[in-house]
């Protein structure tokens, strides 16, 4: 392809990505009458009413807080337990290691729809229903395998001589692991956290099934509004716009690692 025309492809692609987002954002600044009455490319009567409603109504803003709480708990648990496991997979051979690795990955492949009902029963039986911990634990089902997979890739890229030298220098395993190894693969940990955050933030089916009031995620609050009050589209659009912001923040922080991280560390 002609070199000068090359930039057109990503530009058009990004334009295509931005159009629906623009429409959502612009709709969040419109009044309900304007949305339903006149067709306009940008808000004619600019209003912040929709946002004011979300920030003053506890059922709305608690949804955001709930979502953020379980996403953070999940990210921390997933990465914390995945770190030693990924080290074991990348450095040692042990009985059943390959089978175990594939078994972990199969959980990433399990359709959440399959698990919705049994999860509801399991977490009701253990008394965890409608807590943040329940959703955080449930999301571990697919986030731990993913974190192990990503971290294993990054760790395999670190030469084994690093470990051997440290052991020769008299480091114990945990001291080496925490003081030397973890800082070495900091980029990988960042990427793993990004993926865990992403999949936990966007998942709705399990989060909705496992909560009713106290830990209800923002996404579920939105579906309720959509079905009960019918045509409060401006409010819905404002809530949707606000759910994009945490994701945008996280991407901005990891932007330099994204390209490498998406290759899971071992191209």
């Amino acid at each position: 392809m002609n070199r000068s025309a090359k930039w057109l492809v990503p530009t058009f692609y990004i334009l295509f990505l931005m159009l629906p987002i623009y429409w959502l954002v612009s709709m969040s600044f419109k009044t309900t009458n304007e949305i339903l009455g006149v067709f306009s490319l940008w808000p004619q009567e600019f209003t912040l009413e929709n946002y004011r409603k979300i920030f003053t109504d506890p059922t709305w803003y608690n949804g955001y807080i709930n979502s953020l709480i379980y996403v953070v708990i999940n990210t921390v648990i997933s990465v914390a337990v995945a770190l030693p496991a990924a080290y074991a997979f990348s450095r040692y051979r042990f009985l059943g290691d390959k089978h175990l690795f594939f078994w972990l990955l199969t959980n990433r492949m399990a359709p959440p729809a399959v698990f919705a009902l049994p999860f509801f029963q399991l977490y009701s039986a253990t008394g965890l229903f409608d807590t943040h911990i329940a959703v955080a634990l449930a999301h571990c089902l697919f986030n731990i395998p993913l974190a192990v997979w990503i971290l294993e890739g990054f760790m395999s890229g670190v030469p084994k001589e690093l470990d051997e030298t440290a052991y020769l220098d008299g480091y114990s395993f945990w001291r080496f692991f925490i003081r030397i190894f973890i800082p070495t693969i900091a980029a990988g940990i960042g990427v793993a956290m990004f993926f865990c955050f992403m999949y936990s933030w966007v998942e709705l089916l399990l989060a909705k099934t496992l909560t009713s009031v106290n830990a209800k995620p923002i996404a579920a609050t939105m579906t309720r509004t959509a079905s009960t009050s019918g045509y409060e589209l401006g409010l819905l659009a404002a809530a949707g716009t606000l759910t994009i912001i945490p994701g945008a923040f996280v991407i901005y922080f990891v932007r330099n690692y994204i390209a490498r991280g998406f290759a899971l560390g071992r191209v």
Binding site: M1, W7, V9, P10, Y13, I14, F16, L17, M18, P20, I21, W23, L36, L41, A85, F89, R91, Y92, R93, F94, F102, L104, L105, N107, A110, P111, P112, A113, V114, F115, A116, L117, P118, F119, L122, L137, A138, C140, L141, I144, V202, L204, L205, A219, M222, T223, L233, G240, I244, P246, A248, I251, Y252, R255, N256, A259, R260, F262, A263, V267
Partner: protein, 288 residues
């Protein structure tokens, strides 16, 4: 890398195994349990053998949704993978625009799935949506809530919008890892653009593309929230994919037996395909 044999490494894996087993084995056994029993309410269960499995495997409803699911997955893979590669090939390699491109492209990946559905709903509605208005003003009669073809096109377009970036980012990462020396050698040999792509870039992308296709296959096969919010599985049953159908049977009609049997068959299909991919991937890795 040749690894040390060390059975004590199991201790490092134990926390992961416990957490995942708690989340995976107990619910999975519950599903297996339901799939071989019949109930008439009151928590009384009777042995039903493989009856539910036979019923599901023979039911036309399951065939129809499985077929729709396969068609959908095939369509999005055929669009997203070539499109993703094309965009990645055209992206700048260095300079300030790289970060801008990456951040903007990754944005759809971090939007909650029901918001994606809702966003496309208000974007594509023929009376208030930008897309719907545009298509109708071109003289094409378009209403995705009533026309099966339009509903399909909108669902596929939504998935392309949502997930092509994953393919782009993976491919881009793969392209960035190709050493400059390869391109210089190609230039000396006077290789054409196509030859560079076919003999240098594509072989190097082998691994990331396998990951991309594997991830896209898994996620598109489990798709639930986005089409459910966008079309609700309609009009009629035309966009009722496997997960939507499953939730309808399990939570809507509360037919636990058939739903459980269907879950297991569904899971087996995903597992089989992924196992094939995984084996192929590991074999590739052994070669290189």
């Amino acid at each position: 890398m040749n690894k040390l044999s060390n059975q004590r490494a199991w201790w490092l894996v134990v926390p992961v195994v416990i957490l995942v087993a708690f989340n995976a084995l107990i619910p999975l056994m519950t599903v297996v349990n339901y799939s071989v029993q019949e109930t008439f309410g009151n928590n009384q269960f009777f042995w039903h053998g493989v009856g539910w499995f036979e019923q599901v495997l023979k039911s036309e409803r399951f065939h129809a949704s499985l077929l729709r699911q396969l068609a959908f997955t095939a369509m999005i893979l055929l669009i997203e993978v070539p499109l993703g590669i094309a965009v990645a090939l055209c992206m700048p390699r260095k300079g300030p625009w790289v970060s801008v491109c990456l951040v903007l492209m990754a944005l759809p990946l971090l939007i909650p799935w029901n918001v994606v559905g809702a966003m496309w709903n208000i974007f594509a509605l023929p009376d208030i949506g930008l897309l719907g208005k545009m298509i109708n003003s071109l003289g094409i009669d378009y209403n995705f809530t009533q026309q099966p073809v339009a509903a399909w096109a909108t669902t596929v377009l939504m998935d392309v919008w949502h997930w092509t970036s994953l393919v782009v980012l993976l491919t881009y990462a793969g392209l960035c890892s190709i050493p400059d020396a390869y391109y210089q050698a190609a230039r000396i040999d006077g290789a054409s653009g196509w030859a560079v792509f076919r003999f240098i870039q594509l072989p190097k992308l082998n691994r990331v593309l396998t990951i991309a296709i594997l991830l896209r296959f898994m996620d598109s096969f489990m798709i639930y929230t986005e089409p459910f919010v966008l079309t609700g599985g309609g009009p009629g049953n035309t966009t009722t994919f496997l997960s939507i159908d499953l939730v309808k049977i399990a939570l809507g009609q509360f037919d636990l037996g058939p739903a459980a049997a269907m879950s297991l068959i569904y899971f087996m299909v995903v597992l089989l395909v992924c196992w094939i991919f995984y084996t192929a991937m590991m074999r590739n890795e052994g070669q290189s």
